[in-house]
Symmetry: C2
Amino acid sequence: MKVGFIGLGAMGRGMAGALLKAGHTVSGFDLNPAALAWLEDNGGARAAGPAQACDGADAAVLMVVNAQQAEAVLFGDDGAVEGLPGGALVLSSVTMPAEAAQSLGARISEAGLNYLDAPVSGGTVGADGGTLTFMAAGNDAAWNAAQPLLTAMGQNIYRFGDHPGPGSTMKMVHQLAAGCNLAVAAEVMSFGAHLGLDPAKVLEVLNVSAGGSWMIANRGPRMLTEGRDASSAVDIFVKDLGIVLDAARASRFPVPVSAAALQVFLGASGAGFGKHDDSQATRFYERLGAKKVRSDQ
Amino acid sequence: MKVGFIGLGAMGRGMAGALLKAGHTVSGFDLNPAALAWLEDNGGARAAGPAQACDGADAAVLMVVNAQQAEAVLFGDDGAVEGLPGGALVLSSVTMPAEAAQSLGARISEAGLNYLDAPVSGGTVGADGGTLTFMAAGNDAAWNAAQPLLTAMGQNIYRFGDHPGPGSTMKMVHQLAAGCNLAVAAEVMSFGAHLGLDPAKVLEVLNVSAGGSWMIANRGPRMLTEGRDASSAVDIFVKDLGIVLDAARASRFPVPVSAAALQVFLGASGAGFGKHDDSQATRFYERLGAKKVRSDQ
């Protein structure tokens, strides 16, 4: 397929690369010139803006930061909608509230295009390997047209409904679990260290027992170090758990564990670690007097 | 080895069975006559009390409910200490505060015996299969003497120090992670259901993504049902997270996520589900108006 790819950050590059590997034609746009150079070096074409990237394309794939950026690259000056031919697909993997996905979907539909609400999980490793998990929602036309792209970029592909919204709801709910489990990992590692247990050994036990989680296995080892190379930053969970708390408040649904987990990320961010790797949620406890989990200083 | 086994509940039976399978001689005691009949049927000998069970034994293994029961079966009338010969091992897999393990260890040592503080994780499946995780602490004499028993009952065997206490600390810290991850699982499944997502599909996504955990994989499926057969009850986490909160308060250490998780179990217990399977932590959210996660009524 001929694809216009908008948003070539760490995730977007991996996804565009997976599309290229699968034989799709990719024309891309990003504000960062280095991202465009990367695309050219990897067999894609650079475009001057979203409209040019999507000119005559079968599909636009969006991997920008939030709903506001998605709206701008679709409907702003030189937006993707100007370039896409009638009936083309807009596949958005942008993390956004369900209401935003519904609203964008309605506008895309009015423009004579098909919208698939399709956020992802799997991080840069999943993006680079084409093994992302997709949480998709949209009508049959969008779902069917997206199959060659979804299978190129993803390994586990789920559909949550025939209209935009539930894909983004699932992504939000996923972030609730991921963020809370990470806060639990930071709390257990910090409390264990504080009580005099060897953090590396605590981690080893948790990984073979009922206290284990994807987050403990993946971020636990990084808690033992400075976490200077951020794979995903503390502030991402400040944002994503903030979206969870807003949605919960709007629907009068109590989420006490998420509310507490957000405090951990807020505290770590407020203490100056917002741009650090999210494993450094441990700094919340460290700043409050806990013995250090990390051993490299 | 000749072993006196005290406490033949669901966990104790599995562990005693693993010792018998490995060729050890087991004489056991429990207040429940059915447990003693089970032991006889499986190749062990029933005893009239702790002292008789441990008469001339190389080791006593304790798997009673808490520190108070452990103290009673060791030092009470007809206690195990009366039956054990000098230099014998006392291996306690009882979940208790670290201070209780230290205090029991000191009294056992004064009685001329060796104490291994060795709580476990792995549930009845791990007990039945001889694949428990042991978090042990004690002097070399206790640690070395216990090896044939630990390897018969366990798969992952860790030592946290040369004196009683840190094994129990590790178990408490483990319960923090397990209890919090279970509360997270209840919160994410309930919020997803409330927002209109299919709970079975939410579970499927979480199990292949960064939001996954041992608890989501193991208890998630039971959340989809009534959870009438309790493998471990809601009130166990009321107790274990209570121990975590007490220890955290005593050491002036904030554990906001654990504090919130305890409210979920307290709420479910207060609503009448304390003896139900711990997957029914979802009832906290259901009683507050959430759409049901379970589908069988």
